[in-house]
């Protein structure tokens, strides 16, 4: 799989963080594609039983895709935010694909995502989480974003705060609320 010209993502990123919504729309699928490709490359390079950490993936993606001599700080923040979103889709699509594969339509490509997904599935059913997150977003968009950045993007509380431009305490509060809310939804469903 070839990696697109870094400049493409960079230009889109710069335009997107300057408020160009068309660029923002284009950016997500582009990053999505790249993350998948990268995950594949990384998995091939590492041992087969390796668990790929999302943080490393996102960082690697940033380094490979973004021309850093042109990108500014806010572009980086924007990138990580988009990447978290993209990674969520990668994982969910993968989980869906695996469901289909189990039902008999297996595809070799899924192999490469396994290592990635393993890191997440230790604690949660990805598809269920994805759906629950959708419901949480209906209730409070920002809380869902916090989960996305934190869980899928592997960002720390401080990092999330900076990306969202809110205080650490706000993120802590939102994270705690969202986590409890999701826990109740996914694990602790009252009878």
């Amino acid at each position: 799989m070839s990696v697109a010209e870094p400049a493409d993502v960079t230009s889109l990123l710069i335009r997107a963080s300057a408020g160009d919504s068309r660029a923002a729309d284009e950016l997500l699928p582009r990053v999505y594609g790249q993350l998948r490709a990268l995950a594949g490359e990384l998995m091939l390079r590492e041992r087969s039983d390796h668990t790929l950490e999302p943080t490393a993936l996102v960082h690697e993606a940033y380094l490979k895709l973004v021309d850093q001599s042109r990108a500014r700080w806010e572009d980086r923040a924007h990138f990580f935010s988009v990447a978290a979103q993209a990674l969520r889709r990668v994982l969910v699509d993968h989980a869906r694909g695996r469901m289909r594969a189990k039902r008999g339509g297996g595809r070799a490509r899924l192999q490469v995502d396994e290592g990635l997904i393993a890191a997440y599935e230790q604690s949660v059913d990805l598809l269920a989480l994805h759906e629950a997150l959708g419901r949480l977003a209906d209730e409070d968009e920002q809380r869902a974003r916090v989960v996305e950045l934190r869980f899928f993007g592997g960002l720390t509380i401080e990092e999330v705060a900076a990306v969202l431009g809110v205080s650490v305490r706000t993120v802590e509060r939102q994270w705690r609320y969202a986590r409890a809310w999701l826990y109740r939804e996914l694990v602790d469903t009252p009878l």
Binding site: H59, Q68, R179, A180, W181, Y183, V187
Partner: protein
């Protein structure tokens, strides 16, 4: 949610009264929260003991436990065996850095390793773990029990004063790093730890740089954790993302944020209302809030200090961490702070823009705190405050700020701080710049030419043996050759690493270069640019042909071996194994090609003998790592520079320390001896300094580089010094000692009088023996030197047209000369009197002289006939001036009166009683509306001629005011006196704008050029000195050793000193073609290559 269970229930009862559904929801969530545990916590932060590196050995370190984890790696507590100690080991995630990135990482970490200060956690070592694509790691000082400064202060409930005291030490440590040329780049509480003894320790100093992303490298800085943690402490210029443009003032800004947080517990910006990704925009655009908004007790000076550190415009900030520290110390001592001045001025400007009329009240108190404006305050008291507009006051304050910048610029010049000088000059508004600004601006760059092509710092520098080529090697991975005569670019060679050392063979045919990152030294043939295949030698830093050309040494010692080959056969002659005790540095050969000097970590300099391989001598004395060494041309003296900011000269055969040179705080680097061995030059911060080897006496500093000077060299003929620096420029300087002010004429006796021709081309200087010299200003060449008088010459004046000169002296003689080399055209004698002063009438038909008998005499210029005489004062007539219409004469003399005479009838029309005994000098302002006077009491006075009112009177000189003249534009007055000083005054404001020191004895008189660009002073120290805003192209008293290259000379006429750059061509030509335009034939072999050279880069 912080309520305990029972409290919580009560709280919920209260908060959810009558809302049972809400209550149920809340309780359900609380329960889920309690049970969620590590649910959804990102995998990366769920490590700990599971980290596979625990127990592993990395380098010399055994990893014990995790201290912190980030996206790009982790920090471990690790044990070092030898010496046995705990270290903090920062391991960067493997596989994320390219090979070149790792090399760069190694290089930068070496710099960090040399950063030693009690307030900075030391970087012991940096390396990579596990192969070429391994994980870079840093071993750093481990600080037990360390806590971020903000948490430390909170937990111990420190008082504001205690917090400030802590912070003061932080500033000191930051400054120490800056002094070593390292910017922290990531100052934030998490990087400012306080140990158990309460001592602050900075960690990660410059680490952001060592792992920087400017080469598109995986780094800590691209770690979101770092990004985000840093974001809030980032300066506006960092938000612009221009990594190259960062300087120490970004750290000053970050210190401001930390100080705000340390004192208030909050950040200066409110990010909570900002939309996503807006943080950098907020930092760039939003005004920081005031500390007093958080805590009323923090208003006043402390708030002013923080706001100054947080200025968006870094020019408005504290210019260094130490400036910030000093203001905090002033605050702690209850002294007035520096920040106040600039700050209030700034506030005023802003206010003024908004409320142009309501500003008067503000202005009046600002006046009081602006030191230079005290005189203005008096003015206001006496005048009708209501009538003075706010704009007028603001204008006067602007002037006060300008004068302050001039004073600081002059101080910067005196201590040799070129960068500060340029900063201060840039601060000055263009419309206020007067002679003093242009004068200092010239001193800010006295280089003959500057070559700017390199895109990064220059470390390597060499001059070809024939002196025709200058070679410079840069961290931009190129080596460039320049024509030393005119600065034109000749060649570019691309390297695959830094070019830190360049060496020519003695015949100039071959050129070797090497530097870090490339790992090899290469040898090329200069004429053909072909690389010599057999000469690709391993080297981590230096390469040098021996002076006899027989041997070539490469390597740099340090961890790598240092090897010597036979340059002819390529046989390895000698190899010294690398050692950790030594640092890589350029190779220095002794002139007899027997010895190589190396520098060691402990500050000793060691001489290795090539034949035997032995250490033949070592020199201990430096208290920090040595940086560069150089042998004197006779091989008897070794010079070494060190991180201890000293240059040491050693006697090689005895090991005796001869000299310790260098001023406190100046970082020394490259060294070069003059070809005659009498002088030694060194890069000294942003200046080039030269000392006399014998006496250790420093010469005047040479300023021009905008940053640290890395390397210096003399041309083989000793006529030029070449230097290169971190500003990416190569500069060429006149090697002769720089006289400032230049001595235009020297006499055997005290100089007594001076005059400038009306065209400004020549000056006449008279002395006490009766000698008169005429000197051409442009060249410093004496045109005439005669002794027409038997005793002192006091009266000296040029005609308004042509260059007719009148001379008069104590011998009672007056001579009028068409040319001083011929016989006098006219002579006249007045027995028993001295000709004290003389002036030509506007038509040049008459000469008016003032005499020691108190009489003014008027002479026919063509015949020497006395046509008029009258008594002008009781004592001697010291000064005469004629109005432009030729009708009035101004006289001043030994009584305290200044008189204006109607020349038609010899009647006194105006008489000013000045209150100054023994007036020496008086002059009309160019518009003839005012008269300036000076005399015995040292005061300089300005009078309104029509009203006779005193405009201002200021103490100007400690003794007699002896000379005085207006600049042609009437804005400045120049005075001189018997206490050696020359001073400039703002005529309008009545303030001193500049005080010049240079004469060693009383200054007897002065004359200003017709265009006001320079003036000449004559002194009892037997010299006439030139003070000029234009480049001086000669030096030495009355001696013109050589005229400058026609090329440089043609540029010398350009009035702004900063236009003296070598010409830049269109970019794709490498200058060789431009060289032809100047009619300078280039080396034929090189011309052959021009077609190919047009793209400018050899691949």
């Amino acid at each position: 949610m912080r309520h305990e269970l029972a409290d919580r229930r009560a709280y919920l009862d209260e908060a959810c009264r009558d809302q049972p559904e809400l209550r149920a929801e809340v309780e359900s969530l609380l329960e889920a929260d309690r049970r969620a545990g590590g649910f959804l916590e990102p995998p990366v932060s769920a490590e700990g003991e599971a980290d596979p590196l625990i127990g592993a050995t990395i380098g010399r370190y055994v990893i014990q436990r995790v201290l912190a984890v980030g996206g790009m790696g982790a920090v471990y507590e690790a044990l070092q065996e030898e010496p046995r100690r705990m270290v903090a080991l920062k391991v960067i995630r493997p596989g994320l850095a390219s090979r070149s990135a790792l090399q760069r990482f190694k290089h930068e970490s070496e710099i960090l390793g040399r950063l030693r200060h009690p307030g900075i956690a030391q970087v012991y070592e940096a390396g990579t773990h596990g192969g070429a694509h391994g994980a870079p790691y840093f071993a750093m000082e481990f600080i037990p029990g360390a806590e971020p400064i903000t948490r430390y202060a909170e937990q111990r409930r420190l008082s504001t004063r205690q917090r400030l005291d802590l912070f003061r030490k932080v500033c000191e440590a930051v400054e120490a790093g800056h002094q070593r040329g390292v910017i922290h780049r990531d100052l934030k509480p998490a990087n400012i730890l306080v140990d158990e003894q309460g001592r602050p320790k900075l960690i990660d100093f410059g680490v952001a740089r060592a792992t920087d992303a400017d080469l598109t490298i995986a780094t800590l800085q691209t770690d979101v954790g770092q990004l985000v943690g840093t974001l809030r402490y980032m300066s506006p210029e960092q938000c612009d993302g221009d990594a190259i443009d960062l300087d120490t003032r970004s750290d000053v800004y970050a210190l401001g944020v930390v100080l705000f947080e340390l004192l208030t517990g909050e950040l200066p910006y409110n990010f909570s209302t900002a939309s996503p990704f807006d943080v950098p925009r907020v930092i760039r655009e939003q005004e920081p809030r005031r500390m007093s908004a958080v805590n009323r007790a923090l208003r006043g000076d402390l708030e002013t200090i923080v706001l100054k550190a947080l200025e968006k415009d870094r020019w408005q900030r504290y210019q260094s961490a130490s400036e910030l520290m000093r203001d905090i110390e002033r605050y702690l001592r209850h002294e007035p702070i520096e920040a106040k001045r600039g700050r209030r001025w700034y506030v005023l400007c802003k206010t003024l823009r908004r409320h142009r009329t309501a500003v008067a009240v503000v202005a009046s108190f600002v006046v009081l705190i602006t030191s230079a404006a005290v005189g203005l305050a008096v003015l206001y008291r006496d005048s009708d405050v209501q009538r003075v507009t706010a704009e007028r006051r603001a204008e006067e304050l602007r002037q006060a700020v300008y004068l302050n910048d001039i004073t600081l610029a002059q101080r910067a010049y005196e201590v040799g701080s070129g960068a500060e000088l340029l900063r201060r000059l840039a601060n000055c508004p263009a419309d206020l710049r007067g002679w003093e600004w242009h004068y200092l601006n010239r001193l800010a760059d006295v280089s003959l030419m500057a070559m700017r092509r390199h895109g990064a710092a220059i470390d390597g520098l060499a001059v070809s043996p024939d002196g025709r080529l200058i070679a410079s090697g840069s961290r931009d991975y190129t080596l460039r050759l320049w024509d030393s005569a005119n600065g034109l670019p000749m060649r570019v060679f691309c390297s695959d690493g830094y070019v830190e050392q360049i060496s020519f063979t003695p015949d100039g045919r071959l050129l070797a270069y090497a530097g870090r990152e490339s790992n090899v030294a290469r040898v090329v043939e200069v004429a053909t640019r072909e690389e010599l295949a057999g000469y690709t030698l391993p080297s981590n830093c230096g390469v040098a042909f021996s002076p006899d050309g027989q041997l070539i040494a490469a390597g740099g010692f340090g961890h790598e071996p240092l090897r010597v080959w036979d340059a002819g056969t390529g046989d390895l002659v000698r190899e010294w194994a690398g050692t950790r005790r030594s640092r890589p540095m350029p190779i220095a050969w002794s002139p007899d090609s027997r010895l190589i000097a190396t520098a060691w970590n402990d500050g000793t300099v060691v001489l290795l003998e090539v034949d035997s391989g032995d250490v033949v001598r070592s020199f201990a004395g430096h208290t920090a790592d040595a940086r560069r060494v150089a042998f004197s041309p006779d091989g008897l003296i070794l010079a070494s520079s060190s991180f201890d900011n000293k240059l040491r000269l050693w006697q090689i055969d005895t090991g005796e320390l001869l000299q310790v040179l260098g001023q406190e705080g100046d970082l020394l680097n490259g060294i070069a001896f003059s070809p005659d061995g009498a002088r030694v030059a060194a890069g000294c911060d942003s200046a080039v300094r030269v000392w006399d080897v014998e006496t250790g006496v420093p010469e005047n500093v040479r300023l021009g580089h905008g940053a640290f000077v890395g390397a210096v060299a003399f041309t083989p003929d000793g006529r030029r010094i070449v230097s290169a620096g971190q500003d990416g420029t190569v500069r060429v300087w006149d090697a002769r000692p720089l006289a400032e002010p230049a001595v235009l004429a020297a006499a055997a006796h005290e100089c007594t009088a001076v005059a400038v021709s009306a065209d400004g081309g020549v000056v006449a200087v008279g002395d006490k023996s009766g000698r008169v010299q005429v000197i051409e200003v442009a060249t410093g060449e004496p045109l005439a030197d005669v002794r027409p008088h038997e005793r002192g010459v006091w009266a000296l004046a040029y005609s308004h047209a042509g260059r007719r000169l009148v001379t008069g002296g104590s011998d009672g003689m007056m001579c009028i000369w068409d040319d001083l080399r011929d016989a006098a055209a006219v002579t006249a004698r007045v027995e028993r009197t001295t000709f004290r002063c003389a002036v030509w009438t506007p038509e040049d038909d008459r000469v008016i002289t003032g005499h020691s008998d108190g009489v003014v005499r008027v002479w026919e210029a063509c015949s020497g006939e006395l046509v008029q005489e009258f008594r002008a004062c009781r004592g001697e007539v010291r000064s005469v001036c004629v109005t432009a219409d030729g009708q009035r004469l101004l006289t001043a003399g030994n009584d305290e009166k200044v008189c204006v005479w109607d020349l038609r009838d010899g009647r006194c029309v105006t008489e000013l009683v000045t209150g100054t005994d023994e007036l020496q000098v008086a002059a009309f302002s160019p518009d003839e509306a005012m008269v300036a006077t000076g005399g015995k009491d040292g005061r300089v006075c300005l009078w309104e001629l029509r009203s006779g009112e005193l405009r201002w009177a200021l103490p100007g000189h400690a003794g007699f005011v002896m000379g005085l003249a207006f600049m042609p534009d009437g804005r400045r007055l120049v005075t001189c006196g018997y206490h050696q000083l020359v001073r400039l005054w703002d005529v309008e404001k009545g303030e001193s704008t500049l005080t010049l020191r240079g004469h060693a004895a009383g200054v007897r008189g002065l004359a200003i050029a017709p265009d006001g660009s320079w003036f000449l002073t004559v002194s009892l120290d037997k010299t006439a000195r030139l003070w000029t805003t234009r480049p001086v192209r000669w030096s030495g008293a009355a001696g013109v050793e050589d005229l400058f290259d026609p090329f440089v000379q043609s540029l010398a006429g350009v009035d702004d000193g900063h236009n003296r750059e070598a010409p830049e061509d269109d970019g794709d030509l490498e200058g060789a073609v431009a060289g032809q335009d100047l009619g300078r034939p280039l080396d034929a072999a090189m011309l052959d290559e021009q077609g190919e050279a047009e793209d400018g880069v050899d691949d």
